[in-house]
């Protein structure tokens, strides 16, 4: 095997080196691709630790979403390209980019940080391995072919080449595994490079009878060797995660890392997001108590269900009020308007009762009352999908939670129909998503359906980049995006609609 000479390909970037930690020199990244066999040794800051991990996690979550949506590899590649450039860029060696080393270092470190975060349970390990393999495949396929070959050689995968003589002898048999057509098959066999590996190294090729197998050896044509590299990658990662999981208890001693890792692993259970936008984030929207009926067309089902319940019953129970208030705060409804909104919505109670029983909670949510901590933090943050999905399922008579998770199929379908989702394909898709517990995927599916025309235009006209159109994991993001998409022509139309609505 030709081992690539590391010295020859190493990237020299003296400017970067100057600032680097001394031990930084030890890690070289001759290849764009990495099997992550060597753990990082250099120190990084806690901020880098968290930021790099979050960026990678974002990519992994998006990849998983692509597979949930049955996107083809090609669609996935297109979808991921801008996101990868933004969060986890990784240039080829030949690009001579000055960022090469730092990119590869980030890639290297973030991978190992996430290993720590996801080694704890078997489920997380399996998911992590799966999406990391997807990421690796994506990069492997996109890699410069010469650089990829050099990388593969560096792995020392111990593939036994098939001799010309053996190729000739087995030609009719091997030919059956490299495609269709009659005629020049023997020649095709001779033209191809073949290697022999233990069949256990290529279970997927075995499974599909895509290779000829004799005496325990699979004869793999060059074009299928990607599968072997991927298998080797997956296998090594599985083993490494096993080892990491056993080493985890020792990490508990470092109480700076534990909360970060804990948060990361939670974020993988349901993608988490914090919503930092405020009312000013949406230009021109009239966020007032009086405009809520109109704005509710942009609400995700969890919020539009709360809105409907509130209109129907003139009341919401505690956790419904909390979930809804924080959402309203997130879309930019100020405290004063919010109090007006609740007061007018609870039309069957007296001012007295309202002031006594409800006002305080709303103020508390906005951070106007309560302890120092609450005030300083500006109250609670709007709930993310993760929080709504995983915390406090609604009981009877309660309207909070996530309809995709907490509703019966009948009730969910009725709610969707009432919201204008009548397409059978979409409803069927939602059913499949929820059956397989991919609740946020169902929500995104509905979003895409309801904004089909606008999304297409936004993409075609380049108004929104793919990075702005990734999977929604926060109700407030849903609102914001819906509002923006429906108001691409400027605010005049929205104003009109709003006015009409208010008159009527």
């Amino acid at each position: 095997m030709n081992r690539i000479d590391i010295k020859r390909t190493k990237v020299l970037d003296h400017r970067k080196k100057q600032f680097a930690d001394p031990s930084y020199k030890d890690t070289e990244y001759p290849h764009r691709l990495n099997f992550y066999s060597t753990p990082p040794t250099a120190d990084i800051t806690l901020e880098q630790f968290e930021q790099w991990a979050m960026d990678r996690l974002r990519i992994l979550a998006e990849l998983e979403a692509c597979s949930f949506r049955n996107k083809t590899p090609a669609e996935t590649a297109v979808h991921m390209k801008p996101l990868l450039e933004k969060y986890l860029p990784l240039d080829s060696t030949s690009s001579n980019s000055s960022e090469l080393n730092i990119q590869r270092q980030r890639d290297h470190y973030s991978h190992f940080i996430l290993r720590l975060a996801f080694a704890s349970t078997e489920d997380l390990r399996r998911r992590f391995t799966r999406v990391e393999t997807m990421l690796f495949r994506l990069r492997f396929q996109a890699d410069d072919s010469r650089e990829r070959a050099a990388f593969v050689r560096s792995l020392n995968l111990d593939w036994e080449p098939v001799s010309e003589e053996e190729k000739r002898e087995l030609a009719p048999l091997l030919a059956t595994t490299i495609g269709f057509g009659h005629g020049r098959r023997a020649q095709q066999v001779m033209d191809e490079e073949w290697c022999k590996v233990d069949w256990m190294r290529v279970p997927d090729l075995t499974e599909g009878r895509k290779v000829y197998i004799r005496a325990g050896k699979a004869y793999v044509p060059a074009r299928e060797q990607q599968s072997m590299v991927l298998n080797a990658y997956t296998k090594r990662l599985e083993q490494a995660l096993e080892l990491t999981s056993r080493a985890l208890p020792r990490l508990d001693e470092d109480d700076r890392l534990t909360p970060i890792l804990d948060h990361l692993s939670k974020s993988f259970i349901a993608p988490d997001a914090s919503y930092t936008g405020s009312g000013t984030a949406i230009d021109g929207a009239e966020i007032t108590a009086g405009n809520m009926d109109n704005l509710s067309q942009h609400f995700p089902m969890c919020m539009s269900n709360l809105h409907r319940s509130l209109r129907r019953d003139a009341h919401l129970k505690h956790f419904g009020r909390l979930q809804y208030t924080l959402f309203l705060k997130g879309i930019g409804l100020n405290l004063e308007e919010c109090l007006i909104f609740w007061r007018s919505s609870f039309r069957n109670i007296t001012d007295d009762t309202f002031n006594k029983d409800y006002r305080y909670n709303v103020q508390h949510a906005y951070g106007q009352v309560g302890g120092d901590m609450n005030r300083r933090g500006g109250g609670y943050s709007p709930f993310s999908c993760q929080k709504i999905l995983t915390e406090r399922a609604p009981g009877s008579g309660e309207a909070h939670g996530c309809p995709y998770r907490h509703f019966s199929l009948d009730n969910l379908t009725a709610l969707l129909r009432a919201s204008g989702v009548t397409d059978r394909g979409v409803l069927q898709g939602v059913k499949e998503d929820t059956d397989s517990q991919k609740f946020h995927m169902a929500c995104n599916r509905v979003f895409e359906h309801l904004h089909h025309t606008e999304l297409k235009r936004a993409k075609d006209d380049g108004i929104m980049t793919a990075a702005q159109l990734d999977t929604i994991v926060h109700p407030n993001e849903y609102f914001k995006r819906s509002y923006q998409l429906k108001n691409m022509d400027g605010r005049s139309k929205q104003k009109q609609e709003g006015d009409i609505k208010m008159e009527g």
Partner: protein, 534 residues
């Protein structure tokens, strides 16, 4: 699947403390959870669903597939529906007598030593045997899982004490299965090895066999099993390089394969699934095209067709005559890709009702040759004919048995409680001679022993009683008369001899590879117990 006991669902990986876990505490057989009443649970699905419901209540995150861990899908305990019970046993009628017969069987016929050597791969007890799970099905319908035995003698002793009507063999674990509850960390108690198994059951051939159905079999439809064994045995040897494949009659209507090579025993589930899928050709249940294979045909399939084509002519077309009725013939017609040819055939067959399948098959080529328009696609017709041949001959596997390392399977040499037949190994070199209906039954063995005593004289018989271990005692044979083990006096003899030689070859191979392994591990010299035994 139909006799899956509803409550035997204890999977060490997924559920740790279920009711069944207690069942392993051997002393308390009465506390054991009982499997569903077989006769009241005729349908496969209803049984499965019930099991699922029970578990789901106990622990929500239990996965459905885990519920069926270790449940042998094998036929064999359930009674056929509608009371049409074939060859109904003397055994089941009088349970008391049957237990006594069974005791005699375990005492005098069951090949304890070879069974031990088979699973242990060495004469001295190793963890291969000591950490192996056995499950014992008792007469009160309790199933005791996670049994294990330090030695062959203790295995024998417990079986004689408990008199199970069925013994199943599970995987070898990282630790003694009886101690599994002492491990708080589930990683410390994991299945690590088990033979790669296959299960063929003739009920899966009901849509193509015309002689019998359900639990019934005859020598005609047994041929399907013969074909399946030939195809699988060849592929396992030639393609995957396995050498130690034991074929065992399941006692009524099927056959099991135990691939015993070390490499096969240590396969991970992922690889078991890959092999299973490699063998899978017949897709779907009823209706629609059941064979859909890529062209050009994979070498495994073209070789299989070579193996199967004579069987197709003789055992299927001539003997089963599967397309005799016009309804079945129409099914055949649907597989013919050329519509004109299809119509011409239909016309011909309509005019001669009941035309034999052999003739119908020949008609296809004959009419295709006379194709006037010349528009017939000969390639696609050939492909269709190959697909049909495969559909009617290629092995139909119960894949659940093969896919998972921790699946339990009925042991060789147990007595089928329905037929009374011994689950004997089948010699693959003498496949065509195997007659499932002539396999020794327990009452017959007892009869044969008596007859032998009369003909061979009392003195030899007396000596033989001493030997109850199922094999001649090697060391003390300085006497004039070497005692004859009981099994040698009966029709069980050729089967146990076959098993004995199978086990001997396996052990020899195992020893040689163990020595070789040590040599390969350069510098790292270890002395293994198995290599000391010469």
């Amino acid at each position: 699947m139909e006799d899956a006991p509803a409550a035997v669902v204890d999977s060490p990986a997924a559920v740790d403390d279920t009711a069944m876990a207690d069942a392993a505490d051997a002393q308390a057989a009465t506390e054991d959870v009982k499997p569903a009443d077989e006769s009241s649970q005729p349908a496969k699905e209803s049984n499965g669903t019930k099991a699922a419901e029970i578990k789901q209540e106990e622990k929500q995150e239990v996965k459905l597939e885990d519920l069926f861990d270790g449940i042998d899908s094998d036929d064999d305990l359930s009674l056929p529906e509608d009371g049409q019970e074939p060859q109904q046993p003397e055994l089941a009628d009088t349970p008391g007598a049957s237990i006594e017969l069974l005791r005699a069987y375990y005492q005098r016929f069951f090949p304890w030593r070879y069974m031990f050597q088979w699973l242990n791969h060495s004469p001295v007890p190793t963890n291969d045997f000591k950490h192996r799970e056995f499950s014992l099905w008792l007469h009160n319908d309790a199933v005791m899982r996670y049994q294990s035995f330090p030695t062959s003698d203790l295995f024998r002793k417990d079986v004689l004490r408990l008199m199970p009507r069925r013994i199943e063999i599970g995987p070898v674990y990282t630790a003694d299965p009886r101690d599994r509850k002492t491990f708080r960390n589930s990683a410390a108690f994991q299945p690590i090895a088990k033979e790669l198994c296959f299960d063929i059951d003739l009920t899966d051939y009901d849509d193509i066999r015309t002689c019998c159905d359900k639990a019934n079999i005859c020598n005609k439809c047994w041929k399907f099993t013969t074909m399946a064994i030939k195809v699988l045995d060849t592929a396992l040897r030639e393609d995957f390089g396995f050498n130690h494949i034991l074929w065992v009659y399941s006692g009524r209507r099927g056959v099991h394969a135990w691939v015993c090579d070390r490499k096969a025993r240590t396969l991970a589930d992922q690889h078991r699934k890959a092999i299973t899928a490699y063998f899978e050709v017949i897709a779907g249940k009823q209706g629609g095209k059941r064979v859909n294979v890529r062209r050009p045909l994979h070498p495994h399939l073209s070789r299989s067709i070579e193996i199967l084509k004579d069987h197709f002519q003789e055992d299927v077309l001539e003997i089963q005559d599967p397309w005799q009725s016009s309804e079945k013939a129409e099914y055949l017609l649907q597989q013919i890709p050329d519509l004109q040819l299809r119509d011409a055939l239909r016309k011909k067959w309509d005019s001669s009702p009941g035309r034999a399948s052999t003739s119908k098959w020949a008609d296809i080529d004959a009419l295709a040759r006379t194709d006037a328009s010349g528009g017939l696609d000969a390639h696609s017709l050939l492909d269709a004919k190959q697909d049909i041949l495969l559909e009617y001959t290629y092995p139909r596997l119960d894949i659940a048995v093969s896919q998972r390392l921790n699946h339990l399977l009925k042991s060789p040499f147990v007595i089928h409680p329905g037929t009374g037949r011994v689950c004997v190994p089948i010699d693959r070199n003498n496949l065509d001679a195997f007659d499932p209906l002539d396999v020794p039954t327990l009452p017959r063995l007892v009869r044969e022993i008596d007859e032998w005593a009369e003909t061979e004289g009392a003195s030899r018989a007396m000596a033989a009683v001493e030997v109850s271990d199922g094999a001649a005692v090697g060391g003390s044979s300085s006497q004039d008369v070497k005692p004859v083990p009981d099994w040698e006096k009966t029709s069980l003899k050729p089967y146990i001899e076959h098993f004995r030689s199978f086990v001997a070859t396996l052990m020899r191979d195992e020893r040689e590879t163990a020595v070789k392994r040590e040599r390969d591990e350069d510098g790292d010299v270890q002395i293994k117990t198995e290599s000391l035994d010469f």
